[in-house]
Symmetry: C2
Subunit: 391 residues, 2 copies
């Protein structure tokens, strides 16, 4: 039908509908399909697939969709109905978030380095995904966590929440669930990224937990409502957990563990990759120790996680020149955010954004570097100027 080269020119509803359709007919993380969308636009790709044609037919051989991918797309396209999927999502209180949307979590676009950036994300829950992931840590690990791993994961989730950081995880038994619960218990933002539809609680035993996350945080998936959490989807899902966060902490993991794939993706994206040590006599810590031997950073608590997240810097504070005073080194946004923060009492990001005249995402992005410079103090998601800033 289309098949001609050039980026999609029609955006908006058509793009959204096409991405909804592609989430149904294409398997997320398929490099060739993602490349076709990058080249031709989602609408053109879906339009061709929908018509039973090859959207890449006119492209050079190396850019064409492999036959196996094409036949899979065609097969599923026969029964796909993206409008029905979007309606069904609306009934569930879910929505489709696509690139360009205000709440699109821009960090995931770094997956383009690996050729597997998500085409869309189904989101269920009150959290604004972009804001929630602006200060977010992945806390992942073994389903068969020991009491030790459960305790560490829960404490991390809670303490990160106290410091204003969201916890992302996979909603699974063991480490994942404890991290989510710790965050919720401390009133923090938590996001469960699933390998099936946002309306398909998996594991079953976490139906209540996932419902609570959908009520207070966000449940996210690349797959459309109703999709089954098939075995092969978990590794695909893990890359999104790594990509949506500033860094990944593996709390407990056996030698062969999906959590190691999350950590590997974090490392490939040059994000901090951290592991919590445990007894060498515990098989459930063997994967963590293997990560440590591969260069992951040893972290024993929340302070060390935040320290590690601070390392890469975010370029808001200029550390290169001789520093006459830290005030001169601050970027414009950071300076405005700092000045908008109260000296006495505390303020949340929304209030700071109003005073500073910048958006909430900018506030959240500036807070990290300002905290690391010792200019801002934060607790329980609220912030104020530090003694140093007041001098």
């Amino acid at each position: 039908m289309t098949g001609t080269a050039g980026p999609a020119t029609r955006a908006g509803d058509e793009d959204r509908l096409a991405r909804a359709a592609l989430s149904r007919v294409g398997e997320p993380g398929t490099v060739a399909l993602v490349a076709a969308v990058r080249r031709l636009g989602a609408a053109a790709v879906w339009s061709a697939v929908h018509a039973g044609e090859d959207p890449t037919a006119d492209l050079p051989v190396t850019e064409r969709l492999p036959a196996t991918v094409l036949s899979g797309l065609a097969e599923r396209a026969r029964v796909a109905d993206p409008e029905r999927d979007l309606d069904r999502a609306a009934v569930l209180g879910a929505r489709l978030v696509v690139p360009g949307d205000p709440e699109w979590p821009e960090r995931v676009d770094d997956l383009a380095r690996l050729g597997t950036e998500p085409l869309s994300l189904w989101v269920r829950g009150p959290l604004q995904l972009g804001l929630a992931t602006a200060r977010a840590v992945a806390v992942v690990g073994s389903r068969a966590a020991t009491a030790y791993g459960q305790r560490v994961a829960g404490e991390l989730g809670a303490e990160l929440a106290d410091r204003g950081w969201a916890t992302l995880s996979g909603g699974a038994y063991g480490v994942d669930g404890c991290a989510h619960r710790g965050s919720l218990a401390a009133g923090g933002a938590t996001v469960a990224v699933l390998a099936g539809g946002v309306d398909v609680p998996y594991p079953r035993g976490h139906a209540a937990l996932l419902a609570r996350i959908a009520d207070e945080g966000a449940v996210v998936s690349e797959w459309p409502p109703g999709a089954a959490p098939a075995r092969h989807r978990f590794l695909t899902r893990n890359r999104v957990i790594a990509a949506m966060t500033a860094g990944t902490v593996v709390v407990e993991a056996a030698q062969r563990s999906g959590a190691r794939s999350t950590a590997a993706t974090a490392a490939r994206l040059l994000r901090p990759c951290m592991a919590v040590p445990g007894p060498v006599t515990s098989a459930t810590s063997a994967g963590c120790h293997a990560l440590l031997r591969q260069g992951a950073t040893c972290v024993t608590g929340t302070e060390e996680v935040l320290e590690e997240l601070g390392r890469p810097g975010e370029g808001l504070v200029d550390d290169t020149g001789a520093r006459a005073g830290w005030r001169d080194a601050l970027g414009e946004s950071a300076r405005r955010v700092l000045e908008a923060l109260p000296v006495r009492g505390w303020a949340g990001p929304a209030q700071v954004a109003r005073v500073a005249g910048v958006d909430q995402l900018t506030v959240l992005r500036c807070l990290g570097p300002l905290e690391r410079e010792g200019l801002v103090e934060g607790a329980a998601g609220r912030y104020r100027q530090s003694a140093r800033a007041r001098r």
Copy 2:
């Protein structure tokens, strides 16, 4: 009396007697005293000190002994009697080992980089110190070890023994004692380095263990018989444990722990510095985790320790050129040792030395690189050619 510059020209008994005396009157690890001996020779330094004079009086100001050191030397010299110390040692079955002796452990001379090489070592026990430390690992840690640390230390000592490696430690309660015991139980070589005389069992509760080590292994000290294990001597002692071994493993250590000083010396000497992780909830592992965060290698068992020890290489196998065949890349000694090893059955180092026509120390030094190249297999201190070597 002397005080003139130039190295000592008289060696042998006079040097040995002087070093015995200096171990009594000087505090080991005193940089200025060690420098004076390096410059003037032990005999000249002792001769002057004995006469109540400053051996460095004629040297440039920067090389003179500080007044505090001089007064300490003079004070103790009044009552020093090195011949009586040597006699007393002989009665105990101990001996003084000095640089140049066949059993001098040459590795400790690397402490010259820090200016604190030992001037002599008192040794009690049947082990030939140079041979025993040619393949030796320091296994150190907390006196207040948990059951976990005790188990790991004991297993390390035993498994290192099985692989033909000696275990060095400090004879203390907890990790040290378990490492010694593990080595002894597996019939291995173990060396306890003390911070007091080799006849002063410390801690008291380890009197039987230290007696057994003196019977089967070696008890070593820089201090003369009868010297008290004063508090400040433990850090001084720790540097010798690090320097006499190919690498240091810290099994359990609190945040403030002497074991960290041993690890720090190992690192300063560019020797592998390893730490065993433990639960982050255990204060007794906090020092290990701090080491890991400072760059120590995470090790979870004997194989990983040996792998780490293999890293720096010992230059016996030439890895630089294009390698036509490994036989061409072997040094002369390594080739002779390899050819002297049995194809069937096993041989100990002494037998290999006889067949190869090299000394036992050379055999021990060649075995490590040959093992790492996969040319030699070892078990329980005995060795044979591997399948690869036979091809």
